[in-house]
Point group: C2
């Protein structure tokens, strides 16, 4: 019978590195690294397929530390395994300014981190997206170049969050059998023991979601090994419920909330050294233990080399997919669409315009993977070339997420993180609130994703204020590293799609109308949306007022411009489909567009933020409160967002 | 054996009213009202305890239509039962401007609507709060004045949403046996049959959450009656899984997604009249059927009268509780706290200041019911007078929600809607994203609630960007009908608590610092936070620049003010703890506070929205991107939010 003496020491190496990092930083979360070290040791020394010399290996097993506060566990593991992007210095610099070893694992800060985690529930949910991406990539290019597991370590907190519940339902539905989620069942959270807030039979719950469930003692290496081995061949996603003790080894704080979120302190560390028979100095790893870890780190080098050969044999299409490189001229048909629109002047909702764009690009971009949170037909996200992924056959380019906006956005993160895919997903703009935490992570990680958010104002009409976004445009514009597009017609919508797909390092929102809108653009020479804002009617020179509008309100501004012209008042209409891109333009361009005449902004949304463009002396025609239930036209009149109001505002401004 | 011929007709009356309302409005969702009419008829004619003549009866059974798109069901029921606030005209005016019969049920628009619903999952989650409120009220005042059920009708969509999963876990944990949730299991959503996106055994899932589960055919009146009867005496919350056919009665669209979200059309309606043997004109209800309904509506009048007597006997304390009236001088101790702070000048984090406030008010306000999403100690929401509610004993004034921010906010809505309680709940400001949909409903419904959102900037420090709010203040300020407070010291924090609790018709956010802050206020004569902003240092007259700051940055602005004074530059520092309240002040006050000198805003958050106060020529010292992981002081220096930067900005402004 194996004694696992070697593994026990390897686990203790993690424990002491993690605890000492936190001690030195005077900040961090020691409880979980200590508790899950045994499981992590078995996983990383015997099972996981990674190559520390090539952390970006496309066919590596993905690892998501859903309980991101246990970052010191991950950094210790990476150091011990010999990841080239981390040194002992990095460990000693934990949580300091500029360190790769950030407080929570940050994707892009250190090679090997597969996802930024910290907000609980997000990691497991995005891991579902990674496991799906594996299946789809394998389907597209063959299992010889894509055949890996997705591992997750999650805490009690992850399993209380709703987003995780949504995502595990989908993982069970899709039977993602290469997803192996380890639950660090330590029964302790910040506020106390989990039984103060939970009586759920979590194993029965996962079984209800069609998962394979294995229960083990998380400190019994034999059980851990057996469970991980069994999970390798499961036909369903596997939950390994590992009963552990938080703060394992700490004499007094073990099994209490006290070790969750602050350094153990010198006294506990001394006791822990005795308890675990670890007479070594801080950050000292005995040579034999380090050698065992480094040997474990070298396990898969040959596999990686063999894979590289198979991948090369696949040729350029696969290489481009992995690199996220789009086919040349992928947007040719979008350009044609714009030309045709200029001729035919279609009067359609921008959600329909978006559908026309998708019809033009989905066949060109096999890596584009769409979906909707049960609003495929109102969002118009599905095209004739969209093939919904079926439970029985994980193949296709369209995901029916069910009424699970948050899981959708989290799974989109997983698809993008896995590499290759460009996900887009639809819901109503008002329900972007349900998925903000995942959208924020997309922005923070700099992922290329497109949120197709239709029904973007009181133009929703009869469904009323619960379905009419007001503050959402402002809320999304306030989020760093995300573009919010609100196009006014077919041509701007096509331009927005071109730009959104071209953004390699940030997500984009497309806010689209439910109601029909006229074609306003008079040329397609240049992608004017790329500048964020431009004069769509009137002349810069000699204008007496500037009307700034977005989306469905540009048509109102143009109508007001026409009427004012008959009255002998010269105005210019600025269409501003993307504030963020406009803000990135040179000051001279901004100034030329906005001019020095009085400015009036028009948007059927919260006025919040518009002073940035109209200043303290400008006027804003928008919403001051929530919407109401009525036909859209009645609402626009009721809330005073009309051509007449704009005309009056200009005349008032000129009187001042 | 009962034939239920009467009930069948009563149900058909609902079906035709609902379908014709939608037909006339040319907009609405007929599928669900048709499908669930049989269950609703049994519930409303034989079980539910409501009095249509007194829709606000405190001890009525609560009813939440979690699937709010079935609003026509609710309005039809109310009309048939004889609710005094609805007429046939209202039904015919469905979804029109100003109608009580809004597209989704709107709390406050029509007496009898217990909650605004529409965003799926929110209804069932808030119903958990209502059922908890019933237990707590009963515990406080006796079951003779509070002893009622909470009924919910929910669709497939509600049970896909994460928030519902969080809330049903808590309902099971608390064993809320008077909560009876009916699942309209019609297996159809907008995108198709539910099996395209779900394979969960929902009954096993509820059982895992410790619910009582009953399965029935939702068109078999005997089964419906038996299930509802059994639920009355359950020791656990009950799920009645009612298998129904969406669009029941419609010849072609029944059991298909086609009847979900648009009018049936004349042809289907004709067929439905034949199918259901209903030869009556649109909006015509045969006299005998209407009489049966009206009789059902009168069932509980005597019960209500008896209850009124018992309630009166309880005296003024109970009456005030029901009316939401606070005890006189409830904030005396807050005033004392302010005085003491003025003397002792404590340097504490505003989260600690908030805790001091709570220590002063929790004992005075038995209706104040606190809680946290597993961050009680960092949020400092728990006081020495806080009694956590235990599973074994639903009594107390503090709720340990677990790591379920969204359910927390939804349950707070239920507590407030039930009447009597003033809920407050804590999490980190950055995680307000997780609960935005429920916060928005609180704002839309105009509920008195307080969100205690600590760790409100990069001042979070080492935990890094996933835990550092940036865009959240702007996002919350953009939301209509909600106050966002960001106090700078103990005195402003106390003022903010006074104001938040006094807001009877809107929720408030308190954004509070993790880090210690000096006492800056020099007087307590007036609640200056009530004006939203005021000059805290310097003079209005003769200032050369105005510094506007909130929360933790007011101290930086004051330090800059002092340094500039030594340089002979006169500035005024405006503390702006609440933009919304400042915006409500007369223009003359706003103008007097902000002055005409150059303005510089300072806030360790997204700059988005600050142009409203500094204009196009002002300066904003804030964040342009996400935060980072490092000690807080290092981050402030790194991101240039320092006294020196402010001094420099003023000097630059004066050079212009």
């Amino acid at each position: 019978m194996a004694t696992y003496a070697k593994e026990r020491k390897m686990a203790n190496a993690i424990r002491f590195l993690a605890a000492e990092m936190i001690e030195k930083a005077k900040s961090g979360h020691p409880g979980m690294p200590l508790g899950i070290a045994d499981v992590a040791t078995m996983l990383f020394s015997k099972f996981i397929k990674v190559n520390p010399q090539n952390p970006k290996w496309f066919d590596r097993d993905r690892f998501v530390l859903s309980a991101g506060h246990a970052s010191s566990l991950l950094y210790s593991l990476f150091y011990l395994l010999g990841y080239k992007d981390i040194t002992l210095d990095d460990l000693q610099n934990f949580r300091q300014l500029g360190a790769k070893t950030a407080g929570h694992p940050e994707y892009g800060h250190m090679l090997g981190i597969d996802m930024t985690t910290g907000p609980l529930g997000e990691g497991i949910s995005s891991a579902v997206g990674m496991a799906l991406a594996e299946k789809l990539t394998s389907d597209m290019f063959g299992s010889e170049v894509c055949d890996h597991k997705t591992y997750v370590i999650m805490g009690d907190g992850c399993l209380m969050e709703g987003v995780a519940m949504e995502a595990i339902a989908l993982a069970g539905h899709w039977q993602l059998n290469k997803l192996i989620a380890i639950w660090d069942d330590n029964q302790v959270t910040i506020d106390g023991r989990t039984d103060i807030a939970s009586s759920t039979d979590m194993k029965a719950l996962f079984a209800a979601h069609q998962w394979n469930v294995i229960s083990i003692d998380g400190h019994d290496f034999a059980q851990i090994e057996k469970a991980l081995a069994a999970a390798q061949t499961s036909e369903r996603p596997t939950l390994i419920a590992a009963r552990t003790k938080i703060g394992y080894g700490a004499p007094d704080k073990c099994d209490t909330p006290k070790c969750h979120g602050s350094p153990l302190g010198a006294e506990e560390l001394t006791g822990m050294r005795q308890n675990l028979d670890w007479p070594f100095a801080p950050f000292e790893v005995p040579e034999d233990v380090l050698a065992d870890w480094r040997q474990a780190g070298e396990r898969n080098e040959a596999l990686d080399k063999e894979w590289q050969k198979r991948a090369q044999a696949k040729g350029r299409t696969f290489a481009d997919f992995v690199a996220g490189k789009l086919p040349q001229n992928w947007d040719n048909k979008l350009n044609e669409l714009k030309e045709r629109a200029l001729q035919e002047k279609p009067e359609v909702a921008t959600r329909k315009a978006s559908n026309m764009c998708l019809e033009a690009i989905v066949p060109q971009l096999p890596q584009l993977i769409g979906g909707s949170a049960d609003l495929s037909s109102p969002n118009m996200t599905k095209t004739t070339a969209s093939a919904p992924i079926k439970r029985q056959n994980l193949s296709g380019n369209y995901i029916e997420y069910g009424i699970r906006e948050h899981a959708m956005a989290a799974i989109m993160n997983g698809l993008a993180l896995h590499g290759g895919f460009v996900p887009y997903g639809g819901t109503f703009l008002v329900f972007s609130d349900f998925m903000r935490p995942a959208m924020r992570l997309a922005a923070l990680m700099g992922l290329r994703e497109i949120y197709v958010l239709t029904h973007d104002s009181i133009g929703v009409g009869e469904d009323g204020p619960t379905h009419q976004p007001i503050e959402h445009l402002a809320s999304l514009r306030a989020m760093p590293n995300m573009l919010t597009f609100r196009p006014c017609d077919v041509i701007e919508t096509a331009e927005a799609w071109q730009l959104a797909i071209a953004q390699e390092k940030r997500p984009s929102v497309l806010a689209l109308s439910r109601q029909n809108l006229p074609l306003l653009r008079e040329n397609t020479r240049e992608n004017l949306t790329a500048k964020g804002a431009y004069i769509i009617r009137g002349k810069a020179e000699g204008r007496q007022a500037t009307l700034i509008a977005t989306g469905s309100e540009v048509a109102l501004a143009v109508a007001a411009y026409e009427e004012l012209k008959t009255k002998g008042i010269a105005t210019a209409v600025v269409s501003m489909p993307c504030q963020e891109l406009f803000d990135e333009q040179p000051f001279a361009y901004q100034d030329a567009v906005l001019g020095s005449a009085p400015r009036i902004a028009v948007e059927a949304a919260s006025k919040f933020g518009w002073e940035k463009y109209v200043g303290l002396n400008g006027d804003i025609i928008g919403m001051d409160g929530f919407g109401a239930s009525a036909p859209a036209k009645d609402l626009y009149a009721h809330f005073g967002i009309t051509k007449d109001e704009i005309v009056e505002a200009v005349e008032d401004a000129l009187k001042k």
